[in-house]
Amino acid sequence: MSSIVLWRHAPTPANEGGRVQGLLDVELDAAGIARAAWAAERLAARYGEGLRVYSSPLRRAVQTAQALTAIVGGEVTVDHAFAQRSYGVWEGLTWDEVRRDWPQQWRQREAGLDPDIPGWDGQEAVAARVLAGLERIWDPEVPAVVVSHGSPITLGLLAAIGEPASSVVLGRVPHAAAAVATRVDSGAWHIEAFGLGAD
């Protein structure tokens, strides 16, 4: 039995401005780096040195992961299994603009469904790729930390516990906060914790 920590990147200025990022490669500012360091200290204290640290390829995730390797040592392994989904034509808009200009698609998303917009990455595919990545890196003895994004973390956890990607049983892990997925010897996953390091 061992666990994988799914850590959401620290907030960027775009997050704080309520803007949809998706595949836009926005960097952390000093405030975001400080949030990452706060959480990294606690993760390092709990899981110790020699942790394996994986990250989504986007800068905000890699910067967050580096706050942890700065303490526990080792390198950040970039892994596309944990990449953000594409938000298609919504990327760069504020969520207020999305709600105003795409009301029907906004409601689809609120109900847990894929909004019908150009370029959107469907949730079933995202859930499957994240779970495949978790099962590939999982080690029965050694825990790992994966820095990823809001949607892939929730969708990967849903897939791990056998829930459909459209399920609303799980919210989003806040920025710089973490969830813990534990896999027992039978191969089954459970959600050990959700929202560590949030308010």
Binding site: I161, V169, V184, A188
Partner: protein, 208 residues
């Protein structure tokens, strides 16, 4: 109701010995009281000022709840439907004796099944009374609802609210004085927003 917090009681001596407590009324240990005070100091900052507090009648849960009640200046209501799962003849038995005398039953239990021992309350029974109690109190709470309960009753109650299958252990147990937070959606479904968090891992904001 705005949000539902589900809190597990502080540590007891039986917890440290690995004994199942179930409906046996075991008091908090000195450490359990310290844990309750830490939980109360943090949760009193997070819940709404008009939060409604309801506890299992078992003293380890009720005394944990009273720590938050004192911090908020509010009473803790008691609802016995929030009690721990009954473990029947397993209550107070050491893990070694349990393994020796009931090997097949223990294996079924570890696989999240029903061990079928005398007096054991099955998942469906626990879920039914937990969900009924929480829905009753949620309808009456103007702000947040905070429920003080036990390891198994908390987990099975949440799985019941969320509609998760009992076939697998999809949610882990809460640690002592750890809590979860759920939101009731406008469409009637529930969403888990926090699970198994505790005072030390709460981010208290700017400059902390």
């Amino acid at each position: 109701m705005t949000r539902l917090f589900i809190v597990r009681h502080g540590e007891t001596e039986w917890n440290t010995l690995g004994l199942l407590q179930g409906t046996s009324d075991i008091p908090l240990s000195p450490l359990g009281r310290e844990q309750a005070a830490r939980m109360a100091a943090t949760l009193s900052e997070l819940v709404s000022p008009d939060a409604v507090l309801v506890s299992s009648h078992l003293s380890r849960a009720l005394d944990t709840g009273k720590a938050l009640g004192a911090a908020l200046g509010t009473d803790v209501a008691v609802d016995a439907r929030l009690r721990e799962r009954a473990y029947g003849v397993w209550e107070g038995i050491t893990p070694e004796e349990r393994e020796r005398r009931w090997p097949r039953e223990v294996a079924a239990w570890h696989a999240h099944g029903n061990p079928g021992i005398e007096g054991f309350e099955v998942h469906e029974q626990v879920a039914a009374r937990m969900v009924a109690a929480i829905n009753d109190h949620a309808q009456k709470a103007p702000g947040d609802l905070v429920v003080f309960t036990h390891g198994s009753s908390a987990r099975i109650g949440m799985m019941g609210l969320l509609g998760l299958s009992f076939e697998h252990r999809t949610l882990g147990n809460l640690g002592n004085t750890c809590w979860s937070r759920l939101r009731h959606r406008p469409d009637g479904r529930w969403t888990l927003e926090r699970h198994n968090v505790w005072a030390d891992v709460v981010y208290v904001g700017g400059g902390a």
